[in-house]
């Protein structure tokens, strides 16, 4: 008896988004990164094309994040300097790009000024030659100020700028059009709002082929399955021909992992859970490997052990 062919046939392609500008493209990056372009689900290479595999963006912030010492120790003393941290990410951890977050600009925290943030962007651009994703601090009013200056500091470098929401999309579109950057469109684990933000970006005259979708991220054990399902549905819709949902997808795994007790609490608080120095990166890697299979194209990771593990998983699944 003939074995039936059960391969899925998809009708559309996920957009290819290239980040970073080399000299000939008007920037100073040593390389560019392209994500997307798939005609099938993650790792199903026998069903369609996957021209670009998932990439790892190294987490860097303008000020050292409030993470446990056991985790920070794994990264090293460079965590106190964004430029050195970025360099270590590239040279030692082998990341494909850098994700730079201005957490120090939070008005309820250190309240760093937009010009201080822009300086950090300049320093990181000088220190490494990989493409950048640049984020604000999460406070909408402040982010409009920060992102504008940071964008100008990186003009022409074709960075990803994060993030455009229903409330601020016009500002982000204006910034990205003026300085030739690409947009991270954000929705709060909500596929309908995700689509709506993309419609708004399109209405504002921004080409959706230059957009990466970010459905926020949930750490393992804290709504992971919700985000997983949304990533999967977005990808299915994109492959079925919904042009508004055909963008590559991004997950901030490090930023979310080191907010949950399983990746923060010490051994004496969680007896029987193993050493935090191992548990933290394990939590990060496990979370990332799940999202890889849901359709994540860019994973933001921090701990070198997690980065090495996730890279090995990507290579294994493509082998």
């Amino acid at each position: 008896m003939e074995v039936p062919d059960v391969k899925e046939k998809w009708t559309a392609r996920i957009n290819e988004v290239t980040i970073g500008a080399t000299k000939d493209k008007g920037g100073t990056r040593g390389k560019m990164i392209t994500v997307g372009g798939h005609t099938t689900l993650p790792f199903m290479t026998f069903e369609g094309e996957i021209p670009h595999g998932p990439v790892i963006a190294g987490f860097v912030s303008d000020v050292a994040p409030d993470w446990p010492d056991a985790v920070k120790k794994g990264i090293g003393k460079e965590i106190g300097s964004p430029a050195e941290w970025a360099q270590k990410n590239v040279k030692e951890f082998g990341v494909d790009m850098i994700s730079l977050k201005m957490i120090g600009a939070d008005p309820h925290g250190k309240n760093k000024s937009p010009s201080e943030c822009a300086k950090v962007v300049e320093q990181v651009l000088k220190a490494v030659d990989v493409p950048l994703a640049i984020w604000g601090c999460g406070d909408e009013k402040k982010d409009n100020l920060i992102l504008s200056e940071c964008s100008q500091a990186a003009k022409g470098e074709i960075c990803l700028i994060g993030s455009a929401k229903q409330s601020n999309y016009m500002t982000i579109v204006a910034i990205c059009k003026a300085d030739k950057h690409k947009i991270i469109s954000e929705a709060p684990v909500d596929i309908n709002i995700g689509k709506q933000v993309n419609i708004l970006l399109q209405d504002a005259g921004y080409d959706l082929k230059d957009v990466v979708m970010y459905q926020t991220t949930a750490a393992l054990g804290y709504g992971f399955d919700y985000v997983y399902t949304i990533l999967e549905r977005c990808r299915n819709a994109g492959l079925k021909g919904d042009k508004l949902m055909a963008a590559p997808q991004l997950c901030d795994v490090a930023g979310e992992t080191y907010r949950v007790k399983e990746a923060l609490a010490d051994d004496d608080v969680l007896p029987g859970w193993g050493k935090l120095e191992k548990r933290g990166p394990m939590w990060e890697a496990a979370c990332a490997s799940g999202y890889l299979q849901a359709g994540a194209d860019i994973l933001i990771l921090a701990h070198p052990t997690a980065i090495a593990n996730v890279r090995a998983i990507i290579q294994d699944l493509f082998a």
């Binding site: 046939k9 009708t11 309908n192 689509k195 709506q196 993309n198 419609i199 508004l244 949902m245």
Partner: protein, 260 residues
């Protein structure tokens, strides 16, 4: 959702006159208007305006000068079809073949040769069927023949033959029943389309009947229609029915997004 714009048809007086006088502007105007309204294919029908292949080719070429929307070649005469398909820049959909054995073979052969799709009208030697079962039987014959020729499910559009409500009221329920069974021929299923406006032919409340019938067809599995794409309420009904059937993802501006 695949909308086939019905307006470039010589059954309409302005188009007939334009074909006879070779006035390309009328065709171009309808091509642009229907494309802007969201048509995925533009039906081009020469009807009784001419029987010359060169006139049908002129119609196709004129439309293609105005827009790059693919063509629905509304012709079942094989000689005209063979000429007209050569001038189509994008793979067209051939509108149509029936299940009549000696007629569908050559049309499907042309479709396979040019990578085109076909609309299969579920009519056979005995004419239009009255029951759902006969419609399904005839659809099965078309699907089998098309697949033998190498056409995939996405290249086959099944048309259950829509009858006017005001004189054949019992037919609508049979058509809906047939549509729900057409889906079962293959996985993924073939497309299901229909000449929608036939349902309201001669009726007083034409637009209302078209909209309600379309929504009911979508609920049963229809995903395409040959219709008046300029009727925005009809298109909005189509969009909304597809959302309700979870065939597309909801966003607050789903209607506006389609109009872009």
């Amino acid at each position: 959702m695949i909308i086939i714009g019905e307006r470039i048809n010589a059954g309409f007086k302005d188009v007939k006159k334009a074909v006879q006088e070779k006035d390309g502007e009328v065709l171009k105007m309808w091509a642009k208007k229907q494309t802007e309204a969201g048509a995925h294919y533009l039906d081009v029908c020469i009807g009784t305006a001419s029987s010359k292949p060169e006139d049908l080719c002129w119609m196709v070429e004129t439309v293609q000068e105005a827009v790059d929307t693919p063509i629905s070649l509304d012709i079942s005469k094989i000689a005209l079809l063979k000429e007209a398909i050569k001038v189509c820049r994008k793979p067209p959909v051939i509108n149509s073949t029936t299940a009549v054995a000696d007629k569908m073979g050559p049309i499907i052969e042309v479709a396979a040769k040019f990578g085109a799709s076909i609309i299969g009208i579920v009519m056979d030697e005995e004419g239009s069927p009255y029951t759902a079962d006969k419609r399904v039987e005839n659809a099965g014959k078309i699907v089998e023949k098309a697949m033998e020729a190498g056409l995939g499910p996405d290249q086959i559009f099944l048309d259950p033959i829509v009858m006017p409500l005001n004189c054949m009221q019992e037919q609508a329920a049979e058509i809906l029943k047939a549509i729900s069974q057409f889906k079962l021929f293959s996985d993924p299923p073939c497309h299901i389309t229909c000449g929608l406006t036939n349902v309201s032919n001669g009726a007083k409340h034409m637009n209302l009947i078209n909209r309600v019938f379309l929504a009911m067809c979508v609920a049963n599995g229809l995903d395409s229609a040959i219709c008046n794409v300029m009727d925005t309420e009809l298109v909005d009904t189509f969009l909304t029915a597809e959302l309700i059937m979870n065939k597309s993802i909801y966003a607050d501006s789903y209607v506006e997004a389609f109009r872009k």
